[in-house]
């Protein structure tokens, strides 16, 4: 069991960064993304016996991660319906700290504004379009892998990808 844990820790180190990137882009909250990644790895570890080698490990893992992120997003929308958000979110705090520590304040501010604009535009995408787009452009997944993760047809994935990109360009005014 200890050996299995050690080997799994290596696997965590290998996929952790990409997983954090997907989760953060999906949830836009550092603490939530951190927890989602942890949950996904622990879930994968406890259910490793159900893994089938028809698909690479990262496809299976990403599917679990995305399902966790979807649940968290739903829970957050339910919470937001009842509670008024006060102050800065953890993501905003982290970004603010980055901005504080940065050497070029103007560049940092511009980058922050641009990212906020992009995040708002991505948030306005349809649920499937958003998921497919994030997996492709931030998770480095191919349309075929996304098809395996989401259960959608590969051609449907390509259509969603194109529509998401077109809508994003329209929302962002064709430029970044």
């Amino acid at each position: 069991m200890d050996e299995a844990r050690e080997r799994f820790t290596e696997l965590v180190a290998l996929h952790q960064r990409r997983a954090s990137r997907i989760a953060y882009q999906y949830l836009r909250d550092v603490a939530e993304a951190d927890e989602a990644v942890q949950d996904a790895f622990v879930k994968v570890f406890s259910r490793i016996t159900s893994y089938r080698e028809a698909w690479p490990f990262e496809v299976w893992f990403t599917r679990i991660l995305i399902n966790g992120c979807l649940d968290r997003r739903k829970a957050k929308s339910r919470r937001d319906r009842w509670f008024v958000g006060g102050g800065m979110s953890s993501a905003q705090e982290a970004r603010a700290s980055v901005a504080r520590s940065g050497s070029d304040p103007e560049h940092q501010v511009l980058a922050r504004e641009r990212r906020a604009r992009v995040a708002a535009a991505i948030d306005r995408l349809d649920g499937r379009q958003r998921m497919v787009f994030l997996l492709c452009h931030f998770g480095d997944c191919t349309p075929r892998e996304i098809s395996a993760m989401t259960g959608l047809n590969e051609s449907t994935v390509r259509v969603h990808l194109f529509r998401a990109a077109r809508k994003l360009r329209g929302l962002l005014g064709g430029k970044l």
Binding site: F8, Q16, R21, Y24, F41, V118, H137, F138, F162, R169
Partner: protein, 201 residues
């Protein structure tokens, strides 16, 4: 004049995806991009927007998820993995509290408590039984002949009625002359009585 044919956006995006994955684009599309400056410019613009979007997202995540944060996350995952498969354990605070409560309650309930409860119950039953026995042994009071009283005729003589009326009226007069309520005595003194009014007439 023949109108030039250009690639639509969907083809351009497919071409971008293929290039990003390291695959070769469709030969006709690749040929057209090589020949048509307009489509090549559109493709370059699309690729620039998508690449910037991606690079920006990566940079943002890398700034937030620093190596230290990732290491802490890894340690946290390792801790949680170590707990997988272990039997569930009771959380320390309520567990200790409950154990201490149980121990204290078992130590402070000696046997004499049960004996005292039994003795109290016995005494209660004995007293109740003796009281009931005494009540039964007491001679019963003579029963009232209610039936006879009910059947007795309520006949009165006319002379007795007249006497009773006179008594009632005299009682009423006395009561009016001397009010029993001390607080009203002053008002009574100021108010002329019926008799005084009739006398003055």
């Amino acid at each position: 004049m023949k109108r030039p044919i250009h690639l639509n956006d969907e083809y351009l995006y497919e071409c971008y995806l293929a290039q990003r994955q390291g695959d070769a684009a469709d030969p006709p599309i690749a040929e057209h991009l090589a020949d048509c400056d307009h489509c090549a410019a559109r493709y370059s613009e699309l690729a620039l927007v998508m690449d910037t979007l991606r690079a920006d997202g990566e940079a943002e995540t890398d700034e937030i998820f620093t190596p230290e944060r990732l290491r802490a996350q890894q340690q946290q995952i390792a801790r949680r993995m170590a707990a997988v498969g272990r039997p569930a354990q009771v959380i320390s605070f309520p567990g200790r509290f409950v154990q201490r409560t149980i121990r204290v309650s078992t130590l402070r309930s000696p046997r004499w408590t049960a004996a005292a409860a039994a003795a109290g119950l016995f005494l209660g039953i004995a007293l109740g039984a003796s009281y009931e026995w005494e009540y039964r042994a007491r001679p019963s009071p003579p029963a009232l002949n209610t039936r006879g009283a009910r059947l007795a005729p309520a006949v009165r003589s006319p002379s007795a009625d007249v006497g009773a009326d006179a008594d009632f009226l005299s009682d009423l007069e006395v009561a009016l002359e001397h009010p029993r309520t001390r607080e009203l005595a002053a008002f009574d003194a100021f108010t002329p009585h019926v008799r005084e009014v009739s006398d003055s007439r």
